[in-house]
Protein backbone atom coordinates (compact mmCIF):
# COMPACT_ATOMS: atom_id res chain seq x y z
CA UNK A 1 0.00 0.00 0.00
CA UNK A 2 2.35 2.66 -1.22
CA UNK A 3 0.11 5.41 -2.50
CA UNK A 4 -2.37 5.78 0.31
CA UNK A 5 -2.51 9.50 0.09
CA UNK A 6 -5.62 11.13 -1.22
CA UNK A 7 -3.33 13.81 -2.54
CA UNK A 8 -0.77 11.44 -3.89
CA UNK A 9 1.86 12.88 -1.58
CA UNK A 10 2.13 10.52 1.31
CA UNK A 11 1.81 11.11 4.98
CA UNK A 12 5.21 12.43 5.75
CA UNK A 13 5.15 14.85 2.86
CA UNK A 14 1.92 16.26 4.20
CA UNK A 15 3.27 16.49 7.67
CA UNK A 16 6.09 18.55 6.34
CA UNK A 17 3.86 21.46 5.46
CA UNK A 18 4.08 23.81 8.38
CA UNK A 19 0.38 24.25 8.59
CA UNK A 20 -1.32 21.35 10.28
CA UNK A 21 -4.73 21.34 8.67
CA UNK A 22 -7.69 18.97 8.98
CA UNK A 23 -6.51 17.27 5.83
CA UNK A 24 -3.32 16.36 7.59
CA UNK A 25 -5.22 14.80 10.47
CA UNK A 26 -7.44 12.91 8.06
CA UNK A 27 -4.33 11.64 6.40
CA UNK A 28 -2.80 10.50 9.68
CA UNK A 29 -6.04 8.73 10.48
CA UNK A 30 -6.14 7.00 7.11
CA UNK A 31 -2.57 5.83 7.39
CA UNK A 32 -3.32 4.15 10.69
CA UNK A 33 -6.60 2.67 9.50
CA UNK A 34 -4.92 1.30 6.39
CA UNK A 35 -2.44 -0.53 8.59
CA UNK A 36 -5.37 -2.39 10.26
CA UNK A 37 -4.83 -0.60 13.53
CA UNK A 38 -8.60 -0.44 14.01
CA UNK A 39 -10.92 2.52 14.55
CA UNK A 40 -10.57 2.76 18.31
CA UNK A 41 -6.77 2.83 18.65
CA UNK A 42 -6.61 5.07 15.59
CA UNK A 43 -9.00 7.67 16.95
CA UNK A 44 -7.29 7.54 20.30
CA UNK A 45 -3.90 8.09 18.74
CA UNK A 46 -5.08 10.95 16.57
CA UNK A 47 -6.75 12.60 19.59
CA UNK A 48 -3.61 12.25 21.67
CA UNK A 49 -1.52 13.65 18.92
CA UNK A 50 -3.83 16.61 18.34
CA UNK A 51 -3.72 17.37 22.01
CA UNK A 52 0.03 17.18 22.15
CA UNK A 53 0.33 19.44 19.15
CA UNK A 54 -1.94 22.00 20.84
CA UNK A 55 -0.33 21.74 24.26
CA UNK A 56 3.18 21.85 22.95
CA UNK A 57 2.19 24.51 20.45
CA UNK A 58 4.00 22.58 17.83
CA UNK A 59 4.23 23.77 14.25
CA UNK A 60 7.45 22.04 13.41
CA UNK A 61 6.68 19.18 11.02
CA UNK A 62 9.65 17.13 12.13
CA UNK A 63 8.35 17.28 15.66
CA UNK A 64 4.87 16.09 14.70
CA UNK A 65 6.36 13.30 12.69
CA UNK A 66 8.47 12.26 15.63
CA UNK A 67 5.46 12.47 17.93
CA UNK A 68 3.41 10.10 15.82
CA UNK A 69 6.26 7.65 15.75
CA UNK A 70 6.78 8.03 19.46
CA UNK A 71 3.11 7.55 20.39
CA UNK A 72 2.93 4.44 18.23
CA UNK A 73 6.06 2.94 19.72
CA UNK A 74 4.62 3.65 23.15
CA UNK A 75 1.48 1.76 22.15
CA UNK A 76 3.46 -1.18 20.84
CA UNK A 77 5.55 -1.11 24.02
CA UNK A 78 9.19 -2.05 23.41
CA UNK A 79 9.64 -2.95 27.09
CA UNK A 80 7.65 -6.18 26.89
CA UNK A 81 9.52 -9.43 27.42
CA UNK A 82 9.51 -11.12 24.03
CA UNK A 83 11.82 -14.04 24.67
CA UNK A 84 10.68 -17.56 23.84
CA UNK A 85 10.68 -20.02 26.68
CA UNK A 86 12.61 -22.92 25.12
CA UNK A 87 14.96 -24.38 27.73
CA UNK A 88 14.71 -27.50 29.85
CA UNK A 89 13.47 -26.99 33.37
CA UNK A 90 12.76 -29.24 36.34
CA UNK A 91 14.44 -32.07 34.48
CA UNK A 92 12.01 -31.96 31.57
CA UNK A 93 11.83 -30.36 28.14
CA UNK A 94 10.19 -27.00 27.60
CA UNK A 95 6.79 -27.55 25.99
CA UNK A 96 5.41 -25.21 23.38
CA UNK A 97 2.00 -25.33 21.69
CA UNK A 98 1.28 -23.53 18.45
CA UNK A 99 -2.34 -22.51 17.90
CA UNK A 100 -4.45 -20.33 15.63
CA UNK A 101 -7.16 -20.18 13.00
CA UNK A 102 -6.91 -21.99 9.66
CA UNK A 103 -4.12 -21.34 7.22
CA UNK A 104 -2.25 -18.64 9.16
CA UNK A 105 1.11 -20.41 9.10
CA UNK A 106 1.24 -22.56 12.23
CA UNK A 107 2.96 -25.58 10.73
CA UNK A 108 5.43 -23.43 8.84
CA UNK A 109 6.22 -21.47 12.00
CA UNK A 110 6.82 -24.69 13.94
CA UNK A 111 9.29 -25.69 11.24
CA UNK A 112 11.06 -22.34 11.35
CA UNK A 113 11.30 -22.28 15.15
CA UNK A 114 12.73 -25.79 14.97
CA UNK A 115 15.34 -24.52 12.57
CA UNK A 116 16.43 -21.71 14.93
CA UNK A 117 16.61 -24.03 17.94
CA UNK A 118 18.52 -26.74 16.09
CA UNK A 119 21.00 -24.09 14.99
CA UNK A 120 21.50 -23.35 18.69
CA UNK A 121 22.28 -27.03 19.20
CA UNK A 122 19.07 -27.83 20.98
CA UNK A 123 17.37 -31.14 20.75
CA UNK A 124 13.85 -30.58 19.47
CA UNK A 125 10.85 -32.87 19.01
CA UNK A 126 7.81 -31.97 16.89
CA UNK A 127 4.34 -33.27 17.69
CA UNK A 128 1.82 -33.43 14.86
CA UNK A 129 -1.43 -32.86 16.75
CA UNK A 130 -3.23 -31.77 13.61
CA UNK A 131 -4.82 -35.08 12.75
CA UNK A 132 -7.64 -33.47 10.85
CA UNK A 133 -6.48 -31.54 7.80
CA UNK A 134 -5.48 -33.50 4.74
CA UNK A 135 -1.71 -34.23 4.81
CA UNK A 136 -1.10 -32.00 7.84
CA UNK A 137 1.13 -34.55 9.61
CA UNK A 138 3.08 -35.16 6.39
CA UNK A 139 3.60 -31.42 6.03
CA UNK A 140 5.04 -31.15 9.54
CA UNK A 141 7.19 -34.24 9.03
CA UNK A 142 8.58 -32.63 5.87
CA UNK A 143 9.49 -29.57 7.88
CA UNK A 144 11.05 -31.83 10.49
CA UNK A 145 13.16 -33.56 7.87
CA UNK A 146 14.12 -30.20 6.45
CA UNK A 147 15.39 -28.76 9.74
CA UNK A 148 16.63 -31.96 11.37
CA UNK A 149 13.89 -32.66 13.89
CA UNK A 150 11.98 -35.89 14.52
CA UNK A 151 8.22 -35.68 14.26
CA UNK A 152 5.91 -37.72 16.47
CA UNK A 153 2.74 -38.39 14.54
CA UNK A 154 -0.13 -40.77 14.06
CA UNK A 155 -0.65 -42.56 10.78
CA UNK A 156 -4.32 -42.91 11.45
CA UNK A 157 -6.62 -40.31 9.88
CA UNK A 158 -8.58 -38.45 12.52
CA UNK A 159 -6.61 -39.87 15.46
CA UNK A 160 -7.12 -38.19 18.82
CA UNK A 161 -4.93 -35.06 18.69
CA UNK A 162 -4.54 -35.00 22.47
CA UNK A 163 -3.03 -38.50 22.39
CA UNK A 164 -0.55 -37.48 19.71
CA UNK A 165 0.42 -34.42 21.75
CA UNK A 166 0.82 -36.62 24.82
CA UNK A 167 3.01 -39.06 22.89
CA UNK A 168 5.17 -36.25 21.56
CA UNK A 169 5.81 -34.85 25.03
CA UNK A 170 6.45 -38.35 26.33
CA UNK A 171 9.01 -38.87 23.57
CA UNK A 172 10.62 -35.54 24.41
CA UNK A 173 10.91 -36.51 28.06
CA UNK A 174 12.36 -39.92 27.21
CA UNK A 175 14.86 -38.46 24.79
CA UNK A 176 15.76 -35.72 27.26
CA UNK A 177 15.01 -33.20 24.58
CA UNK A 178 15.26 -29.47 25.18
CA UNK A 179 11.97 -28.51 23.58
CA UNK A 180 8.82 -30.21 22.36
CA UNK A 181 6.78 -28.17 19.90
CA UNK A 182 3.21 -29.29 19.33
CA UNK A 183 1.52 -28.21 16.10
CA UNK A 184 -2.27 -28.09 16.26
CA UNK A 185 -5.02 -28.01 13.67
CA UNK A 186 -6.33 -24.67 12.50
CA UNK A 187 -9.66 -23.80 14.10
CA UNK A 188 -11.91 -20.78 13.99
CA UNK A 189 -12.46 -19.29 17.41
CA UNK A 190 -16.23 -19.36 17.11
CA UNK A 191 -16.31 -23.17 16.93
CA UNK A 192 -16.91 -24.18 20.51
CA UNK A 193 -16.28 -27.90 20.00
CA UNK A 194 -12.93 -27.30 18.32
CA UNK A 195 -11.89 -24.84 21.02
CA UNK A 196 -12.84 -27.42 23.65
CA UNK A 197 -10.68 -29.93 21.84
CA UNK A 198 -7.76 -27.49 22.02
CA UNK A 199 -8.26 -27.03 25.74
CA UNK A 200 -8.24 -30.79 26.10
CA UNK A 201 -4.98 -31.15 24.18
CA UNK A 202 -3.36 -28.75 26.61
CA UNK A 203 -4.80 -30.47 29.68
CA UNK A 204 -3.66 -33.86 28.47
CA UNK A 205 -0.13 -32.58 27.87
CA UNK A 206 -0.14 -31.12 31.37
CA UNK A 207 -0.53 -34.57 32.86
CA UNK A 208 3.17 -34.95 32.09
CA UNK A 209 4.62 -31.47 31.85
CA UNK A 210 3.57 -27.88 32.12
CA UNK A 211 3.02 -26.05 28.86
CA UNK A 212 5.53 -23.22 28.99
CA UNK A 213 4.67 -21.40 25.84
CA UNK A 214 1.46 -21.15 23.85
CA UNK A 215 2.07 -19.23 20.64
CA UNK A 216 -0.89 -17.80 18.80
CA UNK A 217 -0.09 -17.54 15.12
CA UNK A 218 -1.71 -14.55 13.49
CA UNK A 219 -1.67 -13.78 9.77
CA UNK A 220 -0.62 -10.17 9.10
CA UNK A 221 -3.34 -9.84 6.49
CA UNK A 222 -5.98 -10.39 9.18
CA UNK A 223 -8.20 -7.44 9.88
CA UNK A 224 -10.28 -6.64 12.93
CA UNK A 225 -11.24 -10.28 13.52
CA UNK A 226 -7.73 -10.79 14.84
CA UNK A 227 -8.73 -9.33 18.17
CA UNK A 228 -11.59 -11.77 18.55
CA UNK A 229 -9.21 -14.60 17.67
CA UNK A 230 -6.71 -13.56 20.32
CA UNK A 231 -9.35 -13.10 23.01
CA UNK A 232 -10.92 -16.52 22.56
CA UNK A 233 -7.64 -18.41 22.21
CA UNK A 234 -6.34 -16.59 25.29
CA UNK A 235 -9.38 -17.70 27.25
CA UNK A 236 -9.12 -21.31 26.18
CA UNK A 237 -5.38 -21.97 26.29
CA UNK A 238 -3.86 -18.87 27.87
CA UNK A 239 -1.61 -17.70 25.06
CA UNK A 240 1.83 -16.43 26.05
CA UNK A 241 3.00 -14.93 22.79
CA UNK A 242 2.07 -14.11 19.23
CA UNK A 243 3.82 -15.01 16.00
CA UNK A 244 2.84 -12.54 13.28
CA UNK A 245 3.26 -14.25 9.91
CA UNK A 246 3.27 -13.14 6.28
CA UNK A 247 4.78 -9.76 7.06
CA UNK A 248 6.73 -10.16 3.82
CA UNK A 249 3.59 -9.11 1.97
CA UNK A 250 1.94 -5.69 1.75
CA UNK A 251 -0.11 -6.13 4.94
CA UNK A 252 1.08 -4.31 8.06
CA UNK A 253 -0.46 -6.43 10.81
CA UNK A 254 -1.64 -3.41 12.82
CA UNK A 255 -4.26 -5.46 14.66
CA UNK A 256 -1.54 -6.77 16.99
CA UNK A 257 -1.38 -3.33 18.57
CA UNK A 258 -4.91 -3.68 19.91
CA UNK A 259 -4.24 -7.29 20.89
CA UNK A 260 -1.15 -6.46 22.88
CA UNK A 261 -2.95 -3.63 24.60
CA UNK A 262 -6.06 -5.56 25.49
CA UNK A 263 -4.48 -8.84 26.45
CA UNK A 264 -0.95 -7.87 27.40
CA UNK A 265 0.34 -10.71 25.25
CA UNK A 266 3.49 -9.72 23.35
CA UNK A 267 4.27 -10.38 19.71
CA UNK A 268 7.41 -12.46 19.91
CA UNK A 269 8.14 -13.54 16.36
CA UNK A 270 7.48 -12.42 12.84
CA UNK A 271 7.23 -14.61 9.75
CA UNK A 272 8.82 -13.17 6.64
CA UNK A 273 8.42 -15.85 4.01
CA UNK A 274 7.89 -19.51 3.26
CA UNK A 275 11.48 -20.64 3.71
CA UNK A 276 13.04 -22.17 6.85
CA UNK A 277 15.04 -19.04 7.66
CA UNK A 278 12.21 -16.56 7.20
CA UNK A 279 11.62 -15.96 10.90
CA UNK A 280 12.75 -13.03 13.03
CA UNK A 281 12.27 -11.67 16.52
CA UNK A 282 9.65 -8.95 16.76
CA UNK A 283 11.10 -5.48 16.87
CA UNK A 284 8.81 -2.67 18.01
CA UNK A 285 10.73 0.12 16.28
CA UNK A 286 10.95 -1.73 13.00
CA UNK A 287 7.29 -2.64 13.17
CA UNK A 288 6.28 1.00 13.67
CA UNK A 289 8.57 2.16 10.86
CA UNK A 290 6.94 -0.31 8.49
CA UNK A 291 3.50 0.67 9.70
CA UNK A 292 4.05 4.32 8.81
CA UNK A 293 5.90 3.57 5.60
Amino acid sequence: AKSNSIFGKGLLALLSTDNITDDVWDEVEETLLLADLGTEPTMELVDNLRERVTVEGSRDPQQVKAMLHEELVKMVDPTMDRRLDASRKDGRPAVMMVVGVNGVGKTTTVGKIGRVLVAEDRHVVFGAADTFRAAAAEQLATWGARVGVDTVRSFEDGADPASVAFEAVKTGIEQEADVVIVDTAGRLQNKANLMDELGKIKRVIEKQAAVDEVLLVLDATTGQNGLAQAKVFAEVVNITGIALTKLDGTAKGGIVVAIQRELGVPVKLVGLGEGPDDLAPFNAEGFVEALLD
Binding site: A35, G103, A134, E138, G144, G223, G249, T250
Partner: protein
Protein backbone atom coordinates in the same frame (compact mmCIF):
# COMPACT_ATOMS: atom_id res chain seq x y z
CA UNK B 1 -19.43 4.40 25.03
CA UNK B 2 -21.31 2.84 22.17
CA UNK B 3 -19.64 -0.18 20.75
CA UNK B 4 -21.92 -1.75 18.23
CA UNK B 5 -23.35 -0.06 15.21
CA UNK B 6 -26.88 -0.60 16.46
CA UNK B 7 -26.08 1.14 19.76
CA UNK B 8 -24.53 4.06 18.04
CA UNK B 9 -27.25 4.30 15.45
CA UNK B 10 -29.87 4.12 18.16
CA UNK B 11 -28.29 7.22 19.66
CA UNK B 12 -28.19 8.89 16.28
CA UNK B 13 -31.81 8.00 15.63
CA UNK B 14 -32.77 9.57 18.91
CA UNK B 15 -31.36 12.85 17.77
CA UNK B 16 -32.98 12.57 14.40
CA UNK B 17 -36.43 11.43 15.41
CA UNK B 18 -39.33 13.66 14.59
CA UNK B 19 -37.64 15.59 11.86
CA UNK B 20 -39.55 15.28 8.65
CA UNK B 21 -36.81 15.45 6.07
CA UNK B 22 -33.30 14.45 5.26
CA UNK B 23 -31.08 17.39 5.98
CA UNK B 24 -27.40 17.38 5.24
CA UNK B 25 -26.71 17.28 8.98
CA UNK B 26 -28.96 14.24 9.46
CA UNK B 27 -27.17 12.41 6.71
CA UNK B 28 -23.75 13.37 8.01
CA UNK B 29 -24.53 12.08 11.47
CA UNK B 30 -25.71 8.72 10.22
CA UNK B 31 -22.94 8.50 7.65
CA UNK B 32 -20.32 8.89 10.37
CA UNK B 33 -21.64 5.86 12.19
CA UNK B 34 -21.96 3.87 8.99
CA UNK B 35 -18.38 4.74 8.12
CA UNK B 36 -17.17 3.48 11.46
CA UNK B 37 -19.18 0.28 11.07
CA UNK B 38 -17.75 -0.37 7.62
CA UNK B 39 -14.21 0.19 8.87
CA UNK B 40 -14.82 -2.12 11.81
CA UNK B 41 -16.02 -4.70 9.29
CA UNK B 42 -12.69 -4.35 7.42
CA UNK B 43 -14.05 -2.65 4.35
CA UNK B 44 -11.02 -0.95 2.81
CA UNK B 45 -10.54 2.75 3.55
CA UNK B 46 -10.73 4.01 -0.06
CA UNK B 47 -13.80 1.87 -0.68
CA UNK B 48 -15.48 3.24 2.44
CA UNK B 49 -14.67 6.77 1.35
CA UNK B 50 -16.23 6.30 -2.05
CA UNK B 51 -19.19 4.38 -0.73
CA UNK B 52 -20.03 6.99 1.91
CA UNK B 53 -19.81 9.87 -0.49
CA UNK B 54 -22.09 8.03 -2.88
CA UNK B 55 -24.56 7.31 -0.08
CA UNK B 56 -24.61 10.94 0.95
CA UNK B 57 -25.30 12.03 -2.59
CA UNK B 58 -28.08 9.55 -3.05
CA UNK B 59 -29.64 10.31 0.34
CA UNK B 60 -29.72 14.03 -0.39
CA UNK B 61 -31.64 13.52 -3.57
CA UNK B 62 -34.01 11.02 -1.96
CA UNK B 63 -37.72 11.65 -1.47
CA UNK B 64 -38.54 11.85 2.20
CA UNK B 65 -40.14 8.64 3.38
CA UNK B 66 -43.33 8.76 5.42
CA UNK B 67 -42.68 5.50 7.22
CA UNK B 68 -39.08 5.94 8.32
CA UNK B 69 -37.19 8.58 10.18
CA UNK B 70 -34.21 10.13 8.41
CA UNK B 71 -31.62 7.94 10.11
CA UNK B 72 -33.50 4.80 9.22
CA UNK B 73 -33.92 5.99 5.72
CA UNK B 74 -30.17 6.40 5.32
CA UNK B 75 -29.58 2.93 6.73
CA UNK B 76 -32.07 1.51 4.28
CA UNK B 77 -30.26 3.19 1.42
CA UNK B 78 -26.96 1.80 2.67
CA UNK B 79 -28.37 -1.69 2.76
CA UNK B 80 -29.78 -1.41 -0.74
CA UNK B 81 -26.52 -0.11 -2.09
CA UNK B 82 -24.51 -2.85 -0.42
CA UNK B 83 -26.72 -5.55 -1.87
CA UNK B 84 -26.57 -3.90 -5.27
CA UNK B 85 -22.78 -3.76 -5.29
CA UNK B 86 -22.30 -7.27 -3.89
CA UNK B 87 -24.95 -8.80 -6.09
CA UNK B 88 -24.45 -7.01 -9.39
CA UNK B 89 -24.08 -9.47 -12.23
CA UNK B 90 -24.19 -12.70 -10.24
CA UNK B 91 -23.67 -15.57 -12.61
CA UNK B 92 -22.97 -19.26 -12.80
CA UNK B 93 -19.70 -20.90 -13.74
CA UNK B 94 -18.79 -20.49 -17.39
CA UNK B 95 -18.59 -23.90 -18.99
CA UNK B 96 -16.60 -24.47 -22.14
CA UNK B 97 -18.44 -25.27 -25.36
CA UNK B 98 -15.81 -27.86 -26.10
CA UNK B 99 -14.91 -29.67 -22.88
CA UNK B 100 -12.94 -29.77 -20.80
CA UNK B 101 -13.87 -26.62 -18.94
CA UNK B 102 -10.75 -25.37 -17.19
CA UNK B 103 -10.98 -23.71 -13.79
CA UNK B 104 -7.84 -22.26 -12.24
CA UNK B 105 -7.60 -21.35 -8.55
CA UNK B 106 -5.35 -18.53 -7.33
CA UNK B 107 -4.82 -16.62 -4.10
CA UNK B 108 -2.64 -15.77 -1.15
CA UNK B 109 -0.97 -18.44 0.96
CA UNK B 110 -3.42 -20.31 3.16
CA UNK B 111 -6.52 -18.72 1.63
CA UNK B 112 -8.23 -22.07 1.07
CA UNK B 113 -7.47 -22.98 -2.55
CA UNK B 114 -6.64 -26.65 -2.12
CA UNK B 115 -9.65 -27.19 0.09
CA UNK B 116 -11.81 -25.36 -2.43
CA UNK B 117 -10.49 -27.56 -5.23
CA UNK B 118 -11.88 -30.55 -3.33
CA UNK B 119 -15.17 -28.80 -2.60
CA UNK B 120 -15.69 -27.59 -6.14
CA UNK B 121 -14.91 -31.00 -7.60
CA UNK B 122 -17.37 -32.66 -5.24
CA UNK B 123 -20.04 -30.08 -6.03
CA UNK B 124 -19.56 -30.47 -9.78
CA UNK B 125 -19.48 -34.22 -9.57
CA UNK B 126 -22.82 -34.17 -7.77
CA UNK B 127 -24.19 -32.16 -10.68
CA UNK B 128 -23.25 -34.95 -13.05
CA UNK B 129 -19.89 -33.67 -14.22
CA UNK B 130 -16.68 -35.69 -14.29
CA UNK B 131 -14.07 -33.32 -12.88
CA UNK B 132 -10.35 -33.94 -12.54
CA UNK B 133 -8.01 -32.15 -10.16
CA UNK B 134 -4.54 -31.04 -11.21
CA UNK B 135 -1.75 -30.65 -8.65
CA UNK B 136 0.21 -27.63 -9.83
CA UNK B 137 1.42 -26.50 -6.40
CA UNK B 138 4.82 -28.15 -6.28
CA UNK B 139 6.11 -25.74 -3.68
CA UNK B 140 4.25 -25.83 -0.40
CA UNK B 141 5.30 -28.92 1.58
CA UNK B 142 2.92 -31.80 0.84
CA UNK B 143 0.45 -29.70 -1.12
CA UNK B 144 0.24 -32.50 -3.70
CA UNK B 145 -0.60 -35.06 -1.05
CA UNK B 146 -3.18 -32.72 0.43
CA UNK B 147 -4.90 -32.41 -2.95
CA UNK B 148 -4.75 -36.17 -3.47
CA UNK B 149 -6.47 -36.75 -0.14
CA UNK B 150 -9.13 -34.20 -1.02
CA UNK B 151 -9.61 -35.84 -4.41
CA UNK B 152 -10.02 -39.20 -2.75
CA UNK B 153 -12.58 -37.78 -0.34
CA UNK B 154 -14.50 -36.25 -3.23
CA UNK B 155 -14.19 -39.37 -5.35
CA UNK B 156 -12.47 -37.44 -8.11
CA UNK B 157 -9.24 -38.31 -9.95
CA UNK B 158 -6.14 -36.22 -9.32
CA UNK B 159 -3.47 -35.64 -11.93
CA UNK B 160 -0.21 -35.40 -9.98
CA UNK B 161 2.86 -36.36 -11.99
CA UNK B 162 5.21 -34.69 -9.51
CA UNK B 163 5.18 -35.14 -5.74
CA UNK B 164 6.26 -31.54 -5.08
CA UNK B 165 8.07 -30.79 -1.84
CA UNK B 166 7.75 -33.65 0.64
CA UNK B 167 10.10 -35.27 3.11
CA UNK B 168 11.44 -37.59 0.42
CA UNK B 169 11.67 -34.82 -2.14
CA UNK B 170 13.21 -31.83 -0.40
CA UNK B 171 13.42 -29.71 -3.49
CA UNK B 172 10.55 -28.99 -5.76
CA UNK B 173 10.72 -31.08 -8.89
CA UNK B 174 8.72 -30.44 -12.01
CA UNK B 175 7.33 -27.32 -13.57
CA UNK B 176 3.88 -26.15 -12.49
CA UNK B 177 3.18 -24.67 -15.92
CA UNK B 178 3.94 -27.99 -17.61
CA UNK B 179 1.90 -29.93 -15.05
CA UNK B 180 -1.09 -27.68 -15.66
CA UNK B 181 -0.78 -28.01 -19.44
CA UNK B 182 -0.38 -31.79 -19.28
CA UNK B 183 -3.27 -31.99 -16.84
CA UNK B 184 -5.63 -30.47 -19.35
CA UNK B 185 -4.39 -32.86 -22.05
CA UNK B 186 -4.86 -35.75 -19.65
CA UNK B 187 -8.44 -34.68 -18.92
CA UNK B 188 -9.15 -34.48 -22.64
CA UNK B 189 -7.77 -37.96 -23.18
CA UNK B 190 -9.71 -39.39 -20.25
CA UNK B 191 -12.94 -37.51 -21.10
CA UNK B 192 -13.09 -35.57 -17.88
CA UNK B 193 -15.32 -32.61 -18.69
CA UNK B 194 -13.92 -30.21 -16.05
CA UNK B 195 -10.33 -29.60 -14.94
CA UNK B 196 -9.61 -27.78 -11.69
CA UNK B 197 -6.03 -26.54 -11.40
CA UNK B 198 -4.77 -25.97 -7.84
CA UNK B 199 -1.86 -23.53 -7.70
CA UNK B 200 0.59 -22.50 -4.98
CA UNK B 201 -0.24 -19.59 -2.69
CA UNK B 202 1.58 -16.40 -3.59
CA UNK B 203 1.83 -12.79 -2.46
CA UNK B 204 0.55 -9.99 -4.62
CA UNK B 205 3.95 -8.33 -4.59
CA UNK B 206 5.87 -11.47 -5.57
CA UNK B 207 6.55 -10.61 -9.20
CA UNK B 208 8.21 -13.90 -10.05
CA UNK B 209 5.42 -16.11 -8.73
CA UNK B 210 2.81 -13.80 -10.20
CA UNK B 211 4.44 -14.30 -13.57
CA UNK B 212 4.34 -18.05 -13.01
CA UNK B 213 0.59 -17.82 -12.39
CA UNK B 214 0.20 -15.78 -15.55
CA UNK B 215 2.17 -18.43 -17.43
CA UNK B 216 -0.09 -21.17 -16.11
CA UNK B 217 -3.07 -19.15 -17.21
CA UNK B 218 -1.60 -18.67 -20.67
CA UNK B 219 -0.81 -22.39 -20.94
CA UNK B 220 -4.26 -23.70 -19.99
CA UNK B 221 -6.53 -20.87 -21.19
CA UNK B 222 -8.99 -21.30 -18.33
CA UNK B 223 -12.69 -20.59 -18.67
CA UNK B 224 -12.66 -19.36 -15.08
CA UNK B 225 -9.88 -18.07 -12.88
CA UNK B 226 -11.23 -18.01 -9.33
CA UNK B 227 -9.53 -15.77 -6.79
CA UNK B 228 -9.86 -17.32 -3.34
CA UNK B 229 -9.96 -14.71 -0.59
CA UNK B 230 -10.02 -15.28 3.16
CA UNK B 231 -13.02 -13.50 4.69
CA UNK B 232 -10.85 -12.45 7.65
CA UNK B 233 -8.59 -10.25 5.53
CA UNK B 234 -8.29 -6.60 6.50
CA UNK B 235 -7.15 -3.53 4.61
CA UNK B 236 -4.72 -5.51 2.47
CA UNK B 237 -7.67 -6.86 0.47
CA UNK B 238 -7.43 -4.01 -2.01
CA UNK B 239 -3.71 -4.29 -2.74
CA UNK B 240 -3.96 -8.06 -2.99
CA UNK B 241 -7.03 -8.13 -5.19
CA UNK B 242 -5.52 -5.54 -7.49
CA UNK B 243 -2.22 -7.39 -7.71
CA UNK B 244 -3.91 -10.67 -8.62
CA UNK B 245 -6.25 -8.99 -11.04
CA UNK B 246 -3.40 -7.25 -12.79
CA UNK B 247 -0.89 -10.08 -12.44
CA UNK B 248 -3.02 -13.07 -13.45
CA UNK B 249 -6.46 -11.67 -14.04
CA UNK B 250 -9.39 -13.43 -12.44
CA UNK B 251 -12.98 -13.92 -13.50
CA UNK B 252 -14.63 -14.52 -10.15
CA UNK B 253 -14.08 -14.49 -6.41
CA UNK B 254 -14.62 -17.15 -3.75
CA UNK B 255 -14.85 -15.91 -0.20
CA UNK B 256 -13.49 -18.52 2.19
CA UNK B 257 -13.81 -19.19 5.92
CA UNK B 258 -17.20 -17.51 6.06
CA UNK B 259 -18.09 -19.94 8.82
CA UNK B 260 -16.04 -17.70 11.10
CA UNK B 261 -17.28 -14.55 12.79
CA UNK B 262 -15.35 -12.04 10.69
CA UNK B 263 -17.68 -9.46 9.22
CA UNK B 264 -16.11 -9.92 5.81
CA UNK B 265 -15.90 -6.37 4.54
CA UNK B 266 -13.36 -7.62 2.01
CA UNK B 267 -16.29 -8.82 -0.08
CA UNK B 268 -17.26 -5.23 -0.66
CA UNK B 269 -13.67 -4.10 -1.20
CA UNK B 270 -12.78 -6.70 -3.79
CA UNK B 271 -16.02 -6.22 -5.63
CA UNK B 272 -15.70 -2.43 -5.71
CA UNK B 273 -12.06 -2.42 -6.70
CA UNK B 274 -12.04 -5.12 -9.37
CA UNK B 275 -15.68 -5.28 -10.42
CA UNK B 276 -15.41 -9.07 -10.38
CA UNK B 277 -18.34 -10.96 -8.86
CA UNK B 278 -18.15 -12.97 -5.67
CA UNK B 279 -19.51 -16.31 -6.88
CA UNK B 280 -19.15 -18.78 -4.05
CA UNK B 281 -18.75 -18.95 -0.30
CA UNK B 282 -16.56 -21.50 1.40
CA UNK B 283 -18.00 -22.20 4.82
CA UNK B 284 -16.03 -24.89 6.60
CA UNK B 285 -13.28 -27.45 6.48
CA UNK B 286 -15.37 -30.29 5.11
CA UNK B 287 -15.80 -30.73 1.40
CA UNK B 288 -19.54 -30.15 1.55
CA UNK B 289 -19.12 -26.74 3.21
CA UNK B 290 -19.63 -24.79 0.04
CA UNK B 291 -22.43 -22.54 -1.20
CA UNK B 292 -23.41 -20.05 -3.81
CA UNK B 293 -22.73 -16.54 -2.53
CA UNK B 294 -25.71 -14.64 -1.07
CA UNK B 295 -25.32 -10.86 -1.45
CA UNK B 296 -28.18 -9.99 0.90
CA UNK B 297 -26.77 -12.09 3.72
CA UNK B 298 -23.37 -10.59 3.15
CA UNK B 299 -24.75 -7.07 3.30
CA UNK B 300 -26.39 -7.68 6.68
CA UNK B 301 -23.25 -9.36 7.89
CA UNK B 302 -21.01 -6.46 6.95
CA UNK B 303 -23.31 -3.88 8.47
CA UNK B 304 -24.48 -5.96 11.39
CA UNK B 305 -27.77 -5.27 9.74
CA UNK B 306 -29.71 -7.91 11.63
CA UNK B 307 -29.70 -5.66 14.67
CA UNK B 308 -30.16 -2.52 12.73
CA UNK B 309 -33.13 -3.80 10.81
CA UNK B 310 -34.90 -4.98 13.92
CA UNK B 311 -34.18 -1.57 15.37
CA UNK B 312 -35.86 0.02 12.42
CA UNK B 313 -38.86 -2.18 12.93
CA UNK B 314 -39.07 -1.27 16.58
CA UNK B 315 -38.85 2.42 15.90
Amino acid sequence: MFNSLSDRLAATFKNLKGKGRLSEADIDATAREIRRALLDADVAVPVVREFISHIKERALGEEVSQALNPGQQVVKIVNEELVAILGGETRRLNLAKNPPTVIMLVGLQGAGKTTLAGKLSKHLKEQGHTPMLVAADLQRPNAVKQLQVNGERAGVPVYAPHPGVSSEFEDATGDPVQVARDGVAEAKAKYNDIVIVDTAGRLGMDAELMQQAANIRAAVQPDEVLFVLDAMIGQDAVATAQAFNEGVGFTGVVLSKLDGDARGGAALSVRSVTGKPVMFASTGENLSDFEVFHPDRMASRILDMGDVMSLIEQA
